[in-house]
C-alpha cells in the first residue's frame, strides 16, 4: 500500500505526500524536509486523523490507584450498554507474562489480580462512539482492596518492605541480572580500587542529589488504530519503534510477526515516550473481538498517567577524591533509579547512568553502582537520553563543588580533568579526539563574549558525554525508470528529520540531488528492520545502511555506464545526475538514460545493512550486571554554558542565553542538527526548573495536566547559540558522525544549577529546581535533597474540600 509514494498509506484516497527532499547537508542551501509541506498545510495525517469505514472507538479502564488487589472485575453489565462491541480483560487474552524489554518478564497485557500503578490497564472497551465507550468503562464493575503503595526507593530496599512483585523469584529475566525483592536490576562500573584511592585523597566531597520523575510530553498523545483483514492485522500506531511494537504484539497475542503490520503515518513527536510497546496489543485484540477497525486516542490526562515511559526519579550519592591541584583521583557512587511498577528497560539504563556518573573525565579509580528499584509509581524508561540529564545534573554540580573546594574556576577544573584524545575511559576504553575539551572551551568562550553580567546574573557550565548506539538496520535503494531515486527503509521519523535527511547521504553517493529521492518508511511490511527512533540511532545506523545500498547502486550505474561510454569503471564518476568520464565533459550519460536501459534488463536495486560497529575495546571484568553499555560507542561530547538570572526573593530562575557546543563527529545536515540542539536545550530548561511530577501520598500523580505540568513557552525560551565541533569517529556513523538527538538535553540543567549556585551562594540538590526549592535553599539553606520523597501538601480530596484549585 505504501508502494509508489513517499510516506503514508492513506486510506481515504487523499493524495500522498510527494514533496521531494531538497537542500544540502552543509546548510549552504535551505534544507526542505520531504514531509514538511504536508505538515505545513495540514495534509499530513497522524494516527488519530485516520478514518476507516465502520471505525469503532476504544477506551481503557485504568486502575486509578497505585497499588491494589482486584477483588472483583465484572464487565457483564457494561457489555449490555448501547453501542458496546467488545470489552476485554486479561481473561480474554493469552495469559502470559512478558517484559516490554526482555530484562525482566514482569507484566501482563491487562492487570491480573493486582494493579501496581495508577495508569495500569484493567480493561478495554470498543464501542460505536467515544461517548458510548466512556459510558461502558464507567459501567464495568470493579472492586479493589487497596494495598500500601511503595513509593520510596530507599524504603523499598529495606528487608521489611512490602514487595511490588511478591512473585519476582519466579519471573524469567536476563541472565546478567538477578532480580529479587524490590530490585529489578543492579549494574556496576568498576575500575581499580576507589576506596583505597579515596583514603589517600587530599580533598573528598560527599553529596546527595535527588531528581524527580518527569514526562516526555510529545504534543501528539498516543494513538493506535487496528484493522483486521482475515488473520492479518494492520496496526497504525503513534510509535517510535514499529518493529518493537510488532514483535511485542506478536508475543502477547501469540500471532506470528508476519501477520502483523505496523504503520506510522506521521508521528507527532516522541522523545522516548513512544518507544517501547504500549497499546498496540490492547487495540489489536479489541479490533479482533469487535470485528471492525478500532481506534484509541489518549486524552492528555491519560497521556500523563498511562504510557509507562517517564524519566527516572533518582537518588544519587556521590563521593569524589581530588588532589590539591584539583586532579580527580577516585569516585564512588550509588545511584537508585525508581523504575516504577515494571522494569521495562530500566536495568540497562542503570548501567548507562553509572557511565554518566563517571563521565568523560580521567578518573583512575571508579566504583559506581546503579540499582533499579521497583515502586508503585509510573514505570520509567528510555525518555530522551535516559538518566543522562539527572546524572549530569548531579555530577556536574558535584564538580563545581569540588572546584570550589580546591580553589579552581569551574572551567579550569574541567580543563584539568576532561579526557583528551587517547585517554582512558571508566572501563579503559580509549577516547578519540579532543571533543570534550574543545566543546568546553568553545562554550565558555562564547558565553563570556556575550557581554558583562547584570545584577543577579551568573554563568554556569556543564560538560558530558553520550553514546552512539550501534545496531542492526536495513535499507533498500533503487533507481526508478525515469532516473529518480527511492529509499525504502524501516527507519522511523519522529520529527527530528533524521529519516528526511537520508536522501542527502544517498545523493552524495550517486551524484544526484536530495530532492531526486523519495522515501518509503515506517511500515514494517515494506522496509527492512530498524531499531526505531530511539537512542539517537537513525542516522548512525540507517544512514550507514543507506550509504551501503547507495554504493551498490553506484557500482551498478557505473557498470552500465562503462558499457555505454566504452570506458573503464575506474575512469568514471557520478556527478550532476550523470555518469561521465573524469576529465572528459562530453563523454557522459544521464542517470535517467541509464535507468531506462536498466529497466530492460538488470534493475538498479540494492540493499544495505552490514554489521553494526563494535563497541570500543574495554575491560569490564570488574563490573556486574553487564548489559551492553560497559563502554560507550563513538561518544558525543558536549558542553553547555548558560547565562542565568535568579530572583533570590522568589527563587524564579530565567535563563537568558545558552551556548550549546557539541562534538557530533561530523555534521551531515546542519539545519537538522541545529534543530535538535535548540529543541533539546529548551526541553532541558523545562526539566531544570519546572518539569517534575508531584505524587500524592496515595501514589497518584497530582499534576497530570499541562496547566500544572508546565513546559516552557515561546516567551520563556532563551537565545540559543549552537556550536558544532567535528572530531569524526573512526568507528562511527556515516562519515564519522555520532548521535545527535539525545545529547543536547543532557547538560543544560546542570549548567543552570551551577549558575544558580553562583548567583545565590547556595546549592539546590533537588530536580527540578523549582522556584520554591530555590527560594527554600536561599532562605533556609535546605538544598532539597532530603525533602521527603512523598509530596508536600494535602491530598486532592483535601484540596477539593478547601475549594481551591484550578482557575
Amino acid at each position: 500500500m505504501t508502494e509508489g509514494n513517499a510516506q503514508h498509506p492513506d486510506r481515504d484516497g487523499s493524495p500522498p505526500d510527494q514533496e521531494p527532499a531538497t537542500g544540502s547537508g552543509d546548510g549552504s542551501r535551505p534544507w526542505i524536509r520531504a514531509d514538511g509541506q504536508a505538515k505545513a498545510t495540514g495534509q499530513a495525517r497522524y494516527t488519530a486523523d485516520l478514518t476507516f469505514p465502520g471505525l469503532a472507538h476504544a477506551r481503557l479502564l485504568l486502575a486509578g490507584r497505585a497499588h491494589a488487589r482486584i477483588t472483583r472485575l465484572d464487565p457483564t453489565r457494561a457489555r449490555t450498554l448501547p453501542g458496546v462491541l467488545a470489552i476485554l480483560t486479561q481473561a480474554d487474552v493469552p495469559d502470559l507474562r512478558y517484559g516490554s524489554f526482555d530484562y525482566v518478564l514482569d507484566r501482563t497485557l491487562f492487570a491480573r489480580d493486582v494493579v501496581r500503578f495508577e495508569g495500569e490497564v484493567v480493561a478495554a472497551v470498543a464501542a460505536l462512539t467515544p461517548e458510548q465507550a466512556a459510558a461502558a468503562v464507567a459501567a464495568i464493575e470493579v472492586e479493589y482492596e487497596d494495598l500500601p503503595p511503595i513509593l520510596d526507593v530507599e524504603g523499598a530496599l529495606r528487608p521489611e518492605s512490602p514487595l511490588v512483585h511478591p512473585d519476582i523469584d519466579g519471573y524469567a529475566h536476563d541472565p546478567n541480572l538477578d532480580p529479587s525483592g524490590n530490585v529489578a536490576g543492579r549494574s556496576t562500573i568498576v575500575k581499580g580500587d576507589a576506596a583505597a584511592a579515596l583514603a589517600g585523597a587530599a580533598v573528598v566531597v560527599r553529596e546527595r542529589y535527588v531528581a524527580d520523575m518527569a514526562h516526555p510530553v510529545p504534543i501528539e498523545p498516543h494513538s493506535v488504530t487496528a484493522d483486521w483483514s482475515g488473520d492479518r492485522v494492520t496496526i497504525y500506531s503513534s510509535t517510535q519503534v514499529p518493529f518493537t511494537a510488532r514483535g511485542k504484539t506478536a508475543e502477547v497475542l501469540q500471532i506470528p510477526e508476519h501477520r502483523i503490520r505496523v504503520v506510522v503515518t506521521h508521528l507527532g513527536g516522541g522523545f522516548g515516550g513512544k518507544c517501547d510497546f504500549h497499546f498496540e496489543g490492547h487495540v489489536a485484540a479489541l479490533a479482533r473481538a469487535a470485528r471492525r477497525p478500532v481506534r484509541l486516542v489518549l486524552s492528555r490526562h491519560e497521556e500523563f498517567i498511562a504510557p509507562d515511559k517517564v524519566t527516572h526519579a533518582m537518588v544519587v550519592d556521590l563521593e569524589t577524591g581530588v588532589a590539591e591541584d584539583g586532579t580527580i583521583l577516585a569516585r564512588r557512587s550509588r545511584i537508585l533509579l525508581d523504575c516504577g511498577a515494571y522494569a521495562s528497560d530500566t536495568p540497562v539504563l542503570g548501567q548507562i547512568a553509572a557511565m554518566m556518573i563517571a563521565g568523560p573525565y580521567r578518573i583512575p579509580d571508579v566504583d559506581i553502582e546503579a540499582i533499579s528499584v521497583y515502586t508503585n509509581r509510573t514505570p520509567a524508561g528510555s525518555v530522551r537520553a535516559p538518566t543522562g540529564p539527572q546524572a549530569c545534573w548531579a555530577v556536574e554540580q558535584h564538580h563545581d563543588v569540588l572546584a570550589t573546594r580546591v580553589g579552581l574556576d569551574p572551567v579550569e577544573f574541567r580543563r584539568r580533568n576532561l579526557v583528551h584524545d587517547g585517554d582512558e575511559g571508566p572501563t579503559r576504553q580509549r577516547h578519540e579526539g579532543d571533543g570534550a575539551i574543545d566543546t568546553l572551551n568553545a562554550a565558555a568562550d562564547r558565553i563570556r563574549a556575550d557581554g558583562p553580567l547584570g545584577p543577579g546574573e551568573a554563568i554556569g557550565v556543564a560538560s558530558g558525554w553520550w553514546f552512539s548506539a550501534p545496531g542492526a538496520s536495513g535499507a533498500f535503494v533503487r533507481i526508478e525508470s525515469d532516473g529518480s531515486g527511492r529509499i525504502v527503509t524501516g527507519a522511523q521519523e519522529n520529527g527530528t528529520g533524521a529519516v528526511m535527511a537520508l536522501p542527502i547521504l544517498a545523493a552524495e553517493e550517486l551524484g544526484m540531488r536530495p530532492e531526486d529521492f523519495a522515501i518509503t518508511y515506517q511500515d514494517t511490511d515494506t522496509g527492512p528492520y530498524d531499531g526505531g527512533s530511539s537512542g539517537s540511532q537513525t542516522t548512525f545506523n540507517n544512514g550507514r545502511a543507506v550509504v551501503e545500498a547507495a554504493r551498490e547502486v553506484r557500482r551498478q550505474l557505473l557498470e552500465l555506464a562503462s558499457v555505454q561510454l566504452e570506458a573503464s569503471v575506474a575512469d568514471l564518476e557520478l556527478r550532476d545526475g550523470h555518469a561521465g568520464v573524469v576529465g572528459s565533459p562530453d563523454r557522459r550519460v544521464s542517470i535517467a538514460d541509464l535507468a531506462s536501459t536498466a529497466h530492460d534488463g538488470a534493475l538498479l536495486l540494492a540493499r544495505g545493512s552490514g554489521l553494526p560497529p563494535e563497541n570500543p575495546e574495554h575491560d569490564a571484568s570488574a563490573c556486574v550486571g553487564r548489559l551492553g553499555f560497559e563502554s560507550f560507542a563513538s561518544p558525543t561530547f558536549f558542553c553547555h554554558a548558560v547565562r542565568v538570572h535568579v530572583d533570590p526573593a522568589t527563587g524564579i530562575v530565567r535563563t537568558r542565553k545558552v551556548v550549546a557546543a557539541t562534538d557530533v563527529g561530523r555534521v551531515l545536515n546542519a539545519p537538522g542538527a541545529t534543530g535538535q540542539m535548540t529543541g533539546g536545550v529548551v526541553m532541558a530548561l523545562g526539566n531544570a526548573t519546572m518539569e517534575g511530577t508531584v505524587f500524592g501520598a496515595d501514589g497518584r500523580q497530582r499534576n497530570a495536566s499541562l496547566l500544572d505540568y508546565k513546559l516552557l513557552t515561546t516567551a520563556d525560551a532563551p537565545e540559543i547559540e549552537v556550536v558544532f565541533v567535528e572530531h569524526p569517529a573512526s568507528n562511527g556513523g556515516p562519515r564519522g558522525s555520532k548521535g545527535v538527538g539525545e545529547p543536547p538535553i543532557v547538560p543544560t540543567a546542570a549548567a543552570v544549577a551551577n549558575a544558580i549556585a553562583s548567583v545565590t551562594g547556595t546549592r539546590v540538590r533537588r530536580l527540578p529546581m523549582t522556584p520554591e526549592r530555590v527560594w527554600r535553599a536561599v532562605t533556609t539553606g535546605d538544598d532539597g535533597a532530603t525533602e521527603a520523597n512523598a509530596p508536600f501538601g494535602p491530598s486532592e480530596a483535601a484540596l477539593a474540600a478547601a475549594g481551591i484549585g484550578r482557575r
Binding site: H301, D647, A649, K710, T713, P771, G793, I804, R806
Partner: protein, 304 residues
C-alpha cells in the same frame, strides 16, 4: 449532557431564557466552561445560553470619568486600550497576562468575574478600584453588587441563577494615584497565579501615601482585600521600607493553602514579595514614572 442551546441576540431574550429555564447557564467565550467539562471537573450544563452575540453587552466607554464595560469586554481590549492603560493601569496589567492571545481575545470580563476563580486575574484590580457590577434578571430589573462581594467561594457567586452580569462600572481613581497588578509567574506566559496582588495608591502632596487599597489573588477562597497592608501604608513615606512593611503585613494576615502549585509557606512568603513590588509599581506610576505593562514582567528581580 447538554440538551438545549440558545444564542440570543438581545439581552431581553437571554434574560427570558435564563428566567424560564432553571438549568440554563450563560457562556461567553467558553474559555472556562468548556475546559472545565473537558477535564471532567464539571459537566457542561444541561442548557446553554450563548451570550456572545448580544450587542448590548459588547459596549465599553469612559463616561463621567468611570470606565463602563459591557460584560463581553475582552481581556485583549482591556490590555490594549489607551484609556485603560493610563487610567486603570492595574486592570491592563492583569488583562495582559490572562492565558494566551486566544484566551484574551475570547475571554471576557463578565466570564472572568462570574467564574469566581480565586486565581482570576482581573478581580483584584477591580476590587481596588471599587468597581461594581450590574446583575440583571427578567422581571426584577438590575441590581448593583460590588465586585468585592460578588464571589462567595471558588466558582460561587452571590448572583441568582437567572441573573446575568451586564455591566461593570469602574470608578475613576484619584488623580494623584497609581495602580498595578502583579502575579508570581513561574513562566512568563500561560500562567495561573500562585499569588497575586493589586494595589491602588494615592500620594499626598508631600509624597507620603495618602490612601492605599490592596487586594490579593489566590491566597483565599475568593479575592480578598488586605486591610493590614493598607493600614501599614497610609501616612507612611512612599519608600522601600514601607512597601516591605505592607508586604509583611499582608503575608502575616493571610492563611494560604498548600497545593500542587506551592506550599502555604512559600505562598505566604511570596505574598510579602509580590505585595511589596506591586505597591512599588503603583507608587512609581503615581509619581508619573513609567512601569511597563504588564508589571509582572517588570517585577521579576526587583530589589523590593
Amino acid at each position: 449532557m447538554t440538551e438545549r442551546f440558545a444564542a440570543p441576540t438581545s439581552l431581553e431574550e437571554a434574560l427570558a431564557i435564563l428566567g424560564r429555564d432553571r438549568a440554563a447557564r450563560p457562556v461567553a467565550g467558553g474559555t472556562d466552561l468548556v475546559v472545565a467539562s473537558r477535564q471532567g471537573r464539571r459537566p457542561l450544563p444541561e442548557s446553554i445560553v450563548a451570550i456572545d452575540r448580544i450587542a448590548e453587552l459588547a459596549h465599553h466607554a469612559v463616561a463621567d470619568g468611570s470606565l463602563v464595560l459591557g460584560g463581553l469586554t475582552t481581556h485583549a481590549w482591556l490590555a490594549e486600550t489607551p484609556e485603560v492603560r493610563s487610567g486603570w493601569t492595574a486592570l491592563a496589567d492583569a488583562s495582559a497576562i490572562v492565558g494566551s492571545p486566544a484566551t484574551r481575545g475570547t475571554g471576557t470580563i463578565g466570564g472572568n468575574l462570574m467564574n469566581a476563580s480565586p486565581a482570576a486575574e482581573t478581580t483584584a484590580p477591580l476590587v481596588v478600584f471599587g468597581a461594581n457590577v450590574m446583575l440583571r434578571a427578567i422581571g426584577r430589573g438590575s441590581r448593583i453588587v460590588p465586585v468585592a462581594s460578588l464571589a462567595t467561594g471558588p466558582g460561587r457567586t452571590s448572583a441568582a441563577p437567572d441573573e446575568l452580569l451586564t455591566t461593570v462600572v469602574v470608578p475613576a481613581p484619584d488623580p494623584m494615584s497609581g495602580s498595578a497588578y502583579i502575579r508570581l509567574e513561574y513562566r512568563r506566559a500561560m500562567e495561573i497565579a500562585v499569588v497575586g496582588a493589586a494595589a491602588l495608591v494615592t500620594l499626598a502632596g508631600d509624597g507620603t501615601i495618602a490612601a492605599a487599597r490592596i487586594a490579593l489573588t489566590a491566597v483565599a477562597p475568593t479575592i480578598v482585600r488586605a486591610p493590614e497592608a493598607e493600614i501599614a501604608l497610609v501616612g507612611a513615606a512612599a519608600d522601600a521600607a514601607a512597601f516591605r512593611a505592607a508586604g509583611a503585613a499582608a503575608a502575616g494576615a493571610a492563611s494560604p493553602i498548600d497545593d500542587v502549585r506551592a506550599s502555604a509557606d512559600y505562598r505566604r512568603a511570596m505574598l510579602a514579595v509580590v505585595v511589596a513590588r506591586t505597591v512599588a509599581a503603583a507608587v512609581a506610576r503615581a509619581r508619573g514614572e513609567s512601569i511597563p505593562i504588564p508589571a509582572s514582567r517588570w517585577a521579576h528581580g526587583q530589589e523590593v
